[in-house]
């Protein structure tokens, strides 16, 4: 049931991506409305798949919520990240009307979801000592929310860089008319970066607690933790520079891009070296005994 729902959600996301991409070429309002509706429908189905996974789970505590379960046959983490990003985008779109960001978010969501659901690796059951860990639940939620906020900030930063380049070169391209103002992109991107930083801070703090609970070490040395701390430090520096020196514009956009890439490095580290990953993270994604 959960798998079926998530596959239908994926189809809705794919259709939304198509609508937004066609809109870039043929700017009809109906396409934006269709894209928005399909994304929303996909998100509802996606959330429904989470609910179905929980209701069907036989586990206890956090395991019941799908953590480490075999219900989706891998890819839960990416699924969660995709859902959080889509939810974040829809909230932004409701306030600011940013279809051009939809043309980025929807295809990226599909790109993240497809491999996640094609990989049929088994999952390792959650570590017994973490079955009722509140820190793990907060860690996963804040990591997903922070990643979603920074993914959206990353998308807006790319839009900013493209738009700024066109304005500086005095040669607006065909898509120029679809781009929002620099000021709006910058302002929304800044808010998202701050929220991303806040969630990332919580994720790192709770992550060290989880690590301590499961392995006894609060700060294990591993690529995942290294990239996460680097991303956090970069975002902290960015916020400091903005508040103290008034940095904004191109250099802030470049820093957000770099920060998000470091965060991607965190997930790459998580996937590439599961043996170094904390038990909690491994429970989420690592193909253990299957």
């Amino acid at each position: 049931m959960a798998t079926l729902l998530v596959h239908i959600a994926l189809l809705a996301y794919a259709a939304a991506a198509a609508a937004y991409l066609v809109w870039l070429v043929r700017p009809r309002q109906a396409l934006v409305s269709a894209g928005r509706t399909l994304l929303f429908a996909g998100l509802l189905l996606h959330l429904g798949s989470f609910a179905a996974a929980v209701s069907l789970s036989q586990g206890e505590g956090l395991a019941r919520a799908g953590f480490g379960s075999d219900a989706w046959r891998g890819g839960q983490l990416f699924s969660l990240l995709a859902a959080a990003t889509v939810a974040g985008y829809l909230a932004l779109d409701l306030r600011y009307r940013l279809p051009v960001a939809g043309a980025f978010v929807a295809p990226v969501t599909v790109a993240v979801m497809v491999p996640a659901h094609l990989v049929h690796g088994g999952t390792r059951p959650i570590a017994p000592e973490l079955t009722h860990s509140l820190a793990l639940a907060v860690h996963v939620f804040s990591a997903a929310a922070g990643t979603a906020a920074l993914a959206l900030a990353f998308a807006l930063s790319l839009l900013y860089l493209v738009s700024e380049r066109q304005l500086k070169s005095k040669q607006p391209g065909r898509l120029f008319a679809r781009l929002p103002s620099l000021e709006l992109i910058e302002r929304v991107g800044w808010h998202l970066s701050v929220w991303g930083f806040v969630f990332l801070s919580v994720a790192i703090a709770t992550g060290s607690l989880v690590s301590h609970e499961s392995s006894g070490s609060a700060f294990p040395i591993a690529p995942k933790q290294g990239f996460a701390v680097l991303a956090w430090a970069l975002l902290a520096g960015l916020i400091q520079a903005r508040l103290v020196a008034g940095w904004r514009g191109r250099r802030v956009a470049l820093l957000v891009v770099a920060g998000f890439l470091l965060l991607v490095g965190t997930y790459a580290g998580l996937l590439a070296a599961p043996q170094h990953v904390s038990a909690a993270a491994a429970a989420l994604i690592a193909p253990g005994r299957g």
């Binding site: 309002q29 040669q171 904004r248 514009g249 191109r250």
Partner: protein
């Protein structure tokens, strides 16, 4: 059969020197419309007078009425005017309304001007249902063209490109300050547009305090001294320069200091002067955007080209809408023929029933009703086949053939067109003397 005519001229036929002599003022319009409506054979008329065109669209009894319309425009106009008939006139109406015939393709004003011309023609009692329907269809096509193509996208004049770019950099201009340096006309125009676009503060700087004061009063701004320029660059978000200075007055160094003091808030500098007032190297500074005349013209040219690329798609939409309009007209014609046919047949049957009943002598109420029902049933059965075929065809040769065969041309018009036209008080006496006719314009293919 009434025909649609278009007589007039535009920027394509005559230069502005001629157009300005022919323009019809708002005060003269009712009189001109009344005169047009008074021409023999002219059923409906609308006069479209803008700075780029003077055209009369009319529904008339015959093509020859175009000669009278042409004469009414006067000898100067008649010398250059074009006359378009039926399909060509309809296509022209749609293209004009969709801004495909405009000097600047895609400009937005023409739709408002067409609506205004229609409203005035209605108020003058010169416009009826046929022309109104054609105009509504043309406006609907124009709306589709604007929303479904990029024909209206992107500014194409220097001042509007400057405003568009300011919006692109700064977004909403409310709460923003605009600094106008110099007294160039184009800069004033752009400053006014920015002010109208929401900019809350308009600062006017000039070497001469008196000129600054006078200009500030003219554009609704605040006069400031040019000596305060460094502080003004920190305060303003958009700077418009158009002085006659031979050296740049806004240097890279000055802007560099200002942008730091502004904590890197974006600054948009529009240089409309020759020689330039803003050092071009200032554009290299972060969050500073400098646009000179060539840059603005480059963007305008690019926008014009983009609009031109959309023309083909816009023309296709216009043709689609004309086809839909023609189909709707044919459907209305078919419904009218069917209604006439049924009414005529029923009237004949009723008359025969009454004659037969009077010959049969006293019959009971039930018997009389049976005879009446039989007559109605015969009418229904006889007309069932033709009705189904006419409905299926939805206008076209069968409708004409039926009208001809059953002599329906002289039947009262039940389409509502004439009824609508008669609703105008001025129309009533004239229409009452007229033989009601179908309003179907020739585009249905049944001229």
């Amino acid at each position: 059969m009434p025909v649609l005519l278009c007589v007039g001229l535009s920027h394509k036929q005559v230069p502005i020197a001629v157009r300005e002599q022919l323009a019809v003022s708002a005060e003269d319009l009712p009189g001109r419309l009344a005169r047009l409506r008074g021409l023999a054979g002219v059923r409906e008329a609308m006069l479209l007078s803008t700075c780029n065109r003077l055209e009369v669209f009319a529904v008339a009894d015959a093509r020859t009425c175009a000669d009278d319309l042409l004469r009414d425009l006067g000898p100067l106009a008649a010398e250059h005017a074009l006359t378009r008939y039926e399909d060509e006139a309809l296509l022209h109406l749609f293209r004009v309304t969709a801004s495909l015939d405009s000097m600047v393709v895609g400009e937005a004003q023409i739709q408002g001007q067409v609506k205004e011309a229609h409203a005035r023609a209605l108020a003058a009692g010169a416009c009826g249902a046929a022309l109104s329907r054609a105009l509504a269809a043309a406006l609907s096509a124009a709306k589709r063209v604007r929303t479904e193509t990029g024909i209206a996208r992107g500014a194409v004049s220097i001042s509007s490109v400057a405003v568009q770019m300011a919006h692109k950099v700064l977004g909403d201009l409310s709460g923003r300050a605009v600094l106008l340096i110099g007294a160039g006309e184009m800069a004033q125009l752009a400053a006014r547009e920015l002010h109208a676009g929401g900019a809350s503060e308009l600062l006017v700087a000039n070497r001469s305090a008196a000129v600054a004061e006078a200009l500030a009063q003219e554009v609704g701004g605040i006069a400031v001294g040019i000596a305060e320029l460094p502080a003004l660059l920190e305060r303003a978000d958009v700077v418009l320069c158009s002085t006659a200075a031979h050296q740049p007055i806004v240097t890279r160094e000055l802007v560099g200091r200002a942008i730091k003091a502004r904590r890197y808030r974006a600054l948009f500098l529009i240089d409309l002067a020759l020689p330039r007032n803003v050092e071009p190297a200032a554009n290299q500074l972060e969050n500073v955007y400098v646009y000179d005349l060539d840059d603005l013209e480059g963007v305008a040219a690019q926008n014009r080209e983009l609009r031109q690329q959309e023309v083909q798609r816009a023309e296709a939409i216009v043709l689609e809408e004309i086809t839909a309009y023609a189909r709707a007209k044919q459907e209305r014609a078919a419904v009218r023929v069917l209604a006439h046919l049924r009414a005529q047949a029923q009237a004949l049957a009723d008359a025969e029933v009454e004659r037969t009943l009077s010959l049969l002598g006293p019959l009971s109420e039930r018997q009389q009703n049976s005879v009446r029902s039989m007559a109605t049933a015969i009418v229904n059965k006889l007309l069932h086949g033709p009705t189904a075929r006419l409905r299926g065809e939805q206008g076209g040769p069968l409708s004409d053939a039926a009208a001809e065969l059953f002599g329906l041309q002289d039947a009262p018009d039940v389409s509502g067109d004439d009824a609508e036209r008669r609703s105008s008080p001025e129309e009533q006496p004239q229409d009452a003397s007229r033989k009601p006719q179908a309003d179907v314009l020739s585009l249905t293919g049944r001229k």
